[in-house]
């Protein structure tokens, strides 16, 4: 049976199970949109292609299924670049299909032509330009396989118009892929795993430093087993949140620049560090020359390039976290050791840090403290098991600090690229994957304004995302750095003009609320949860609150500044 490229593409998507597409049409991809309604595919018309890409990321992280994006050539494809880069940095599995000018005029500066494959080479895990209609099935199959397997990441498929319009025999969607240059390692090397087990069996003060890899490989159960067998305290990165229950006694809180005092102390006082699907980002290690000097390091990662990239490790294990932890747990179960007793001292030391240095803030009467707003949102919705996304900035860090969870894939945030504007469309994408679940976006007033146009899509497709704008009328995180390191020179961080967010919501046909007093906070959250459809809440907060603990950029972990600590003079970089 001969079909057009567009028909073949859409049939392949259906076969692949990619039946939710975030997109925006245009000339080069019109031929595909023409037949789109004939296929069992739900298309969500995003108002900006960047948002479509973030929505696909949210869809992936929440569901574990690859997110799909469809855009036109030139400007459409170029608009996805921020989303692609974000997905690359945070290992999010998305596939972007971009229209392209006909092959005959490629390279001739045709109308709406951009060298999309060239431009996206550095921000995709892999990309393709399809040069023959009959190659579409194989390339679609490969694109999804590459995107989701190994270290997940974004894949772009560029589709020239004549390839979409041309006809070819459709022999069905391939069942298998065989890419000779791509065979991710799943099982860990048993010799290395035994070495790791030996090291853990000898440890006196071990710590687990887990990351996003645990979530990608759905290894939270194996992780919990590791903790239960060995009674090892555990901290997670911003990207790993959700991989371990936050009410567990061995939970230390998030680590890193704005992580808890306890988790960070754990990292510099441990004798064995077990890095699981985490990549030693500079927000975590602080000054590299002082990181991990006192301990032996075990590093489990599926991507060999993550290993020894920043930090020298003693026992590297290349493999999938789920497989490797299962193997490791098996070895550790054989160890005869009274773990709890052996670690009594270590656990006591940790309890002492927790007791002396908890997360804290002071909510007096008057203005709402942002931490209070965020903690209230999280606690008041906890029993509904919400999916929570964030923008980028102070509110993001507070949300991470006060985040409470029992299971993975309910926490969406932009870590590696730190993309303001990620939160709202990511929430929209997650809501598309789970229409009945409660999806919240804890956003910044700056961040929200980068992608707030998606209110239209949320209303149009009945995606009832609830957005809480933590409104400090500042680019708060930048203002905090200016306060601490640039002598309070608040250069261009004052968001002096805002739309009325309540009216804005209403203008889009959504519901808007405003809350200005702490005593109203809880009731508003409850009202929001019971309001159908998309809701925007303008949470007016204390403007100049700072986010602590904080390890200043470039400083060592031991230089951590806790809540209420004086700011060391030496940190000052600007001119007072």
């Amino acid at each position: 049976m001969k079909l057009t490229g567009s028909e073949i593409l859409l049939r392949c998507l259906v076969e692949e199970g990619a039946t939710t597409v975030f997109g925006h049409p245009g000339g080069a991809i019109l031929h595909t949109y023409d037949v789109l309604p004939e296929h069992p595919i739900r298309h969500i018309l995003c108002r900006h292609e960047q948002a479509a890409a973030h929505a696909a990321e949210g869809y992936y992280k929440a569901s574990g299924k690859v997110g799909t994006v469809m855009v036109t050539s030139g400007p459409g494809a170029c608009n996805t670049i921020t989303g692609l880069t974000d997905a690359l940095m945070d290992s999010m599995a998305i596939v972007v299909f971009s229209g392209q000018v006909p092959t005959a005029v490629m390279g001739c500066d045709a109308f709406q032509e951009a060298d999309v494959v060239g431009t996206t080479r550095a921000c995709t895990k892999h990309n393709y330009v399809v040069m023959k209609t009959e190659d579409i099935p194989r390339i679609v199959k490969e694109a999804y396989y590459i995107s989701r397997s190994g270290r997940p990441g974004p894949v772009l498929v560029d589709l020239p118009k004549d390839i979409l319009m041309g006809k070819a025999e459709f022999k069905g969607y391939p069942q298998e892929v065989n890419i000779r240059g791509y065979k991710p390692t799943l099982n860990g090397h048993i010799g290395q795993i035994r070495k790791a087990a030996d090291l853990i069996a000898q440890a006196k003060r071990p710590i687990i430093y887990g990351g996003g890899g645990i979530i990608h490989s759905d290894a939270h159960q194996e992780l919990q087993e590791l903790v239960e067998i060995t009674k090892t305290p555990i901290t997670l990165t911003l990207m790993g949140l959700g991989a371990f229950p936050t009410d567990h006694p061995l939970w230390l809180g998030m680590l890193g620049m704005h992580g808890t005092y306890t988790a960070n102390m754990g990292m510099i006082h441990c004798d064995v560090m077990i890095a699981v699907g985490s990549r030693f980002d500079d927000r975590v290690t602080g000054k590299l020359s002082e990181f991990g000097k006192q301990c032996k390091i075990i590093h489990i990662d599926i991507d060999p390039t993550s290993i020894r990239k920043n930090v020298k490790v003693d026992v590297p294990i290349v493999g999938d976290v789920k497989h490797v932890l299962a193997q490791l747990n098996q070895e550790l179960r054989k160890v005869e050791r009274d773990w709890a007793k052996e670690f009594e001292e270590w656990h006591a030391e940790i309890e002492e840090w927790k007791r002396r240095h908890p997360l804290r803030y002071d909510q007096k009467d008057g203005a709402i403290k942002p931490q209070y707003a965020i903690e209230t949102i999280i606690r008041a919705t906890e029993d509904k098991d919400p999916i929570i996304s964030t923008g980028v900035g102070q509110h993001q860090m507070w949300a991470a600090q006060y985040y409470r969870s029992r299971r993975p894939r309910r926490w969406l945030t932009s870590g590696g690229l730190g993309t303001m504007g990620y939160g709202f469309p990511a929430a929209m994408g997650a809501q598309a994957a789970f229409p009945k679940d409660l999806v919240l976006c804890i956003d910044g007033d700056g961040s929200f304004q980068m992608t707030m146009q998606e209110l239209a899509a949320c209303v149009q497709y009945n995606l009832p995302v609830k957005v809480f704008i933590i409104n400090n009328r500042y680019l708060g995180m930048v203002r905090q750095w200016q306060e601490l390191f640039y002598g309070k020179n608040y250069s261009e961080v004052d968001l002096a003009v805002h739309p009325d967010f309540v009216k804005l919501a209403e203008a889009y046909g959504a519901t808007g609320f405003r809350v200005e007093r702490p005593e109203e906070m809880k009731a508003v959250v409850e009202k929001v949860v019971s309001t159908p459809g998309p809701v925007v809440v303008d949470v007016v907060v204390d403007r100049e609150e700072n986010c602590f603990p904080m390890i200043p950029a470039g400083a060592a972990i031991r230089d951590i500044i806790d809540v209420g600590d004086p700011i060391p003079e030496k940190l000052f970089q600007g001119i007072r």
């Binding site: 080479r121 550095a122 240059g181 065979k183 860990g188 090397h189 060999p304 390039t305 290993i307 590297p316």
Partner: protein, 200 residues
């Protein structure tokens, strides 16, 4: 040989998909590390869908190790190895047009003879010579001809082959026979234990 800053020349052998865009990916990756490719040669292998690429870059071992891992991560790269410390047969080819005026025409020919270079073009005033050999030999040849006046030099990138039975392509073909693709490389990685890809 290392520079003062610990850098040295690395020879990287690769088997890659023989398709458009692959070279751009590889060049882009090396450039993103801030390294200049000193020489590069690409040619088809016995399997026309596979090209063999030999890359020479200068850098410190740790950075090159990262680059090799990242090259290996490229989907179109089938196999990569840093061959620097292997026992190699190394060859480059040079074409050199040198002045050959009557007064020293014979001398130039004699030098060419000593090096077993071929005369590939002759004019009344010049010789064009062709020579293959390792880098040192070619460098010496150029030095000796300099006094006569060199008009033009064209030099290829390096091609290398591991001595003995360990050659990349051969091993690779065995692997193809076993239809195991990268499976075997995975084993090599595991033996090394540090996730490094090895062609050996």
């Amino acid at each position: 040989m290392r520079d003062k800053d610990g850098k040295r020349r690395h020879i990287i052998g690769m088997l890659v998909e023989n398709k458009t865009g692959v070279l751009a990916r590889i060049a882009g990756l090396i450039a993103s590390k801030g390294y200049n490719i000193e020489s590069l040669s690409v040619g088809e292998t016995l399997d026309p869908t596979v090209s063999r690429m030999t890359l020479v870059v200068r850098g410190d071992d740790w950075v090159i190790e990262q680059a090799v891992k990242q090259l290996n991560r490229l989907i179109d790269v089938i196999k990569v190895s840093d061959l620097t410390d292997e026992d190699l047969v190394e060859r480059e080819l040079i074409l050199i047009r040198v002045n050959a005026e009557p007064t020293f025409r014979a001398e130039v020919l004699r030098i060419a003879d000593i090096f077993r270079a071929k005369v590939v073009d002759v004019t009344p005033m010049t010789y064009t010579l062709e020579l293959t050999g390792d880098e040192d030999k070619l460098d010496a040849f150029v030095e000796l001809l300099k006094p006569y006046g060199i008009q033009e030099v064209v030099r290829t990138g390096k091609v290398v082959m591991v001595r003995g039975s360990k050659a990349v392509t051969k091993r690779y073909q065995e692997k193809l026979k076993q239809a195991a693709g990268k499976e075997m490389i995975v084993v090599a990685q595991q033996e090394e234990g540090n996730g490094q890809d090895l062609l050996r």
